[in-house]
Amino acid sequence: MAASIREKQTAALKRMLNFNAPPLKNTTAEPVWKVLIYDRFGQDIISPLLSVKELRDMGITLHLLLHSDRDPIPDVPAIYFVMPTEENIDRICQDLRNQLYESYYLNFISAISRSKLEDIASAALAANAVNLVTKVFDQYLNFITLEDDMFILCNQNKEHISYHAINKPDIMDTDMEAIMDTIVDSLFCFFVTLGAVPIIRCPRGNAAEMVAVKLDKKLRENLRDARNSLFTGDTMGTGQFSFQRPLFVLADRNVDLATPLHHTWTYQALIHDVLDFHLNRVSVDESQGSEASPAGARPKKKNKKSYDLTGADKFWQKHKGSPFPEVAEAVQEELDTYRAQEDEVKRLKSIMGLEGEDDGAISMLSDNTAKLTSAVSSLPELLEKKRLIDLHTNVATAVLDHIKSRKLDVYFEYEEKLMSKSTLDKSLLDIISDPDAGTAEDKMRLFLIYYITSQQPPSEADLEQYKKALVDATCDLSSLNYIKQWKAFTKMAATPANYGSSGVKPMGLFSRVMNTGSQFVMEGVKNLVLKQHNLPVTRILDNLMEMKSNPETDDYRYFDPKMLRGSESSIPRNKNPFQEAIVFVVGGGNYIEYQNLVDYTKARQGKRVLYGCSELFNAAQFMKQLSQLGQK
């Protein structure tokens, strides 16, 4: 598994866009133009991985939605990348009848059923276009990769497989089956793309177990069918031969409800929490300049600007997991280096201007030419760098505004203390009643975390007091009902979630940032330093990966799709620690868990961990789901 999942999926997409032939390395090859047609699912999959420019470079002249009005463009091949649903199939048949394009390359995101294939066949026959349908492929790409080591299942109909949908009390068996099927289908596609058959571990008695059983069955069926097995043949590639199979840990969201509600301090998680961040695209409200508006007091216009945070952005890759003050400093440093380089280029320009007339310049020509060519070639890089610096400056400023107005640093510190059960210096009631600190939602989150992490629930009197304070602060209490139920339920099952010992040290109010007079003036914001601690999901992974014995994970079920007989035992056959693992949270996940796993992996050499979840929500969205559940 040397290549990351993002690279694998990108490679698969590029191959598909090259008419399902491996792309050539030749840079000056003849351009072949084509048209790409996708549905919303396809769009979500492609957009984090390939930019419009990259599509253009591959020869895609137009990219269109399947269900839009499309005009016939003769003598152009068309590549379709859609889900095999009824409406999509109908539309494809319609296209065939209308003879929109010269040839058709049909790629289905997940496997298409035989009957639907026959529908297309009959439409093609009717339109006398069978020869035009050049290739039909099942791509098995039904998942969205956001980072090198993070993926989510789908974005379009995520209400169907949300936490709310899985945990609502009046769920019917058929619904549950449908949800499980969707999840298992995506996971199966994921493993096909990854090219590895994992060993599955899951807890007992919840949605995760159902998913594991179904997935095991599906993998097993596919492996038995040696002729059509997707895991053999040269698709595996020589570079993918690893002596160990990866470990697939299925976790259920119910094992840890506090983390999605947690206030956070790392860059990527903050952006997700505070701004509108979706499929690696963040939208920022930008006010029209932070200087005082000129006399005449025109109201500041607010534009919404959206930025893509991609894998090519080196600053982002380096700092997306850093605590926020570090990010602020880093942006400042980048700006300084950029200015220095810019000055260098300008200086070179003036030198060249002066030297031009000198007769003896020929001898120095080659040196200066070299300098000039390097300057010229580095200009695009410089411009790109400037763009990225601007981007991050805007984003970080927006985040900082939110932090200051809602006093998120206070919340973060307090919650960390709650989760690590260290002594609290301020009473919960104070914070809740404090009108400046944060929105109603923030207070509700804090209270829920307190409720979840306390060993015994607060007494009735206390509870009433808190409730009153919360209602005063205009909070919505329905989510509390659900949490109460959940707490009662999980108390029967296992030990309460132990969040590990952590500590948060405030690093002093005046950091270096202030002294360098940067625009990120963090006065009044505590410069907090995160100490490493393990969230419940990380701990579970650690136990399973290192084969440690722990009451929490000892009775996890064990599935090995490659074994001939499925066994019900939970004793793992393999005694060695695993080198690669995939953690999947059924019911939803977020960036805080992801970041925690990344930190865990960094601390250990040679281990790779991928993180996936059925959907990605930030605290606000999760709260909404909890309220809905609490209202039932």
């Binding site: 698969a12 191959r15 000056t28 048209v35 137009l62 003769p74 294939l117 039909v136």
Partner: protein
């Protein structure tokens, strides 16, 4: 990873066909025409698509041509190699010119396509598509032009370098020759062009055989000189290493002696003290009764003998660790000396 189900699709097509036949739904007009896929659709072959494809094929031809002659163009052979396929400068210029004309033609064709596209009445999507197609073709052309300009840049650089090196020489031809001799050893390519700039006092590129021979001899001489220098340096290096080694040994020895001297010093001090004590001890009995003097004399002389032997023993092996050797017998030795002295004194006493 992805499953190719094209065959499955074709099979489905057959299934559907047979099923239709079985159900009698076949329409007589719907017949699979051989190659009928490319029906007479209003596709003007010399329309946009065709012209675009033509341009692309032209550009590809240019690319192939450039790549084919690239090796000769960028000829890196030195003066010594008389390659038959070596290009003259005029040929290179010809290639340059041709390439440029070709590129210009292609660029014009693209521009024309672009303006034509604006005139035709087509849907918005088709227009976008065509614009994108033209962008792609332009990018391809740029790539090929880059090939060409790289080649050219290498050539120009060579010329400039040659000129620069030549300029460093003074007017005299002999010096010129020596300089270029040094340079030819680095395999500089010979460029026959730019004759007009080099008319005055530059090196003749075609060196006559005598000059070649002379340069060869110079070469040999220089090589010999360098080698001898190298040998000398090596020799000196060996000597220096030797010296340092000897010096190390010397300093080791000095340190050893220092320790020994220290220990001897200690001993002497100890001995002195013992003697003093001994003297005091002696004085006491002297003032007392000297009755055991005979026995004392016997033991004193035998002990003296032992002491002498020990001393001699000790003196013959100075290299042994002085401390351990001196330690044990030293005390004995000193006491023995003291006893001997006392015996001598008592003997003297008796004698006196």
């Amino acid at each position: 990873m992805a499953a190719d189900i094209t065959l499955l699709f074709k099979a489905s097509v057959k299934t559907v066909k047979t099923r239709n036949k079985a159900l009698g739904l076949i329409d007589s007009s719907i017949r699979e025409e051989p190659g009928g896929a490319k029906r007479a659709r209003p596709r003007a072959r010399d329309g946009f698509g065709g012209r675009a494809r033509e341009v692309i094929s032209n550009i590809s031809k240019l690319k192939d041509f450039l790549l084919q002659h690239r090796k000769e163009y960028v000829n890196a052979g030195g003066v010594m190699c008389s390659d038959v396929s070596r290009m003259t400068d005029s040929e290179r210029d010809q290639i340059d010119q041709d390439a440029q004309i070709f590129m210009r033609t292609c660029a014009d064709a693209i521009g024309q396509l672009r303006s034509d596209k604006g005139k035709q009445v087509v849907s918005a999507q088709v227009r976008d598509h065509r614009a994108a197609v033209l962008d792609l073709i332009e990018a391809y052309l740029k790539g090929v032009c880059k090939l060409y300009s790289e080649q050219r840049a290498v050539r120009v650089k060579r010329v400039v370098d040659k000129k620069r090196l030549s300029r460093l020489e003074p007017e005299q031809i002999s010096h010129d020759k020596q300089q270029s001799d040094g340079e030819e050893n680095n395999d500089k390519p010979v460029s026959d062009g730019n004759v007009d700039l080099w008319e005055d006092n530059r090196v003749e590129d075609d060196l006559s055989p005598e000059e070649i021979q002379m340069f060869e001899q110079e070469n040999q001489r220089l090589v010999g000189e360098m080698n001898s220098l190298l040998d000398e340096v090596r020799h000196i290096e060996g000597k220096v290493v030797e010296i340092s080694r000897l010096q190390e040994i010397f300093s080791e020895k000095v340190l050893q002696q220092e320790t020994e001297i220290d220990s001897i010093h200690q001993l002497v001090v100890g001995a002195t003290e013992n003697v003093k004590e001994g003297n005091e001890d002696i004085r006491e009995p002297l003032h007392g009764v000297p009755e055991s003097s005979a026995a004392g004399h016997m033991t004193g002389s035998s002990v003296l003998g032992v002491g002498v032997v020990l001393q001699g023993f000790h003196g013959s092996s100075p290299q042994r660790s002085a401390a351990e050797l001196l330690g044990a017998p030293a005390g004995v030795c000193v006491c023995v000396c003291a006893a001997a002295v006392s015996a001598a004194v008592s003997a003297q006493d008796r004698g006196a």
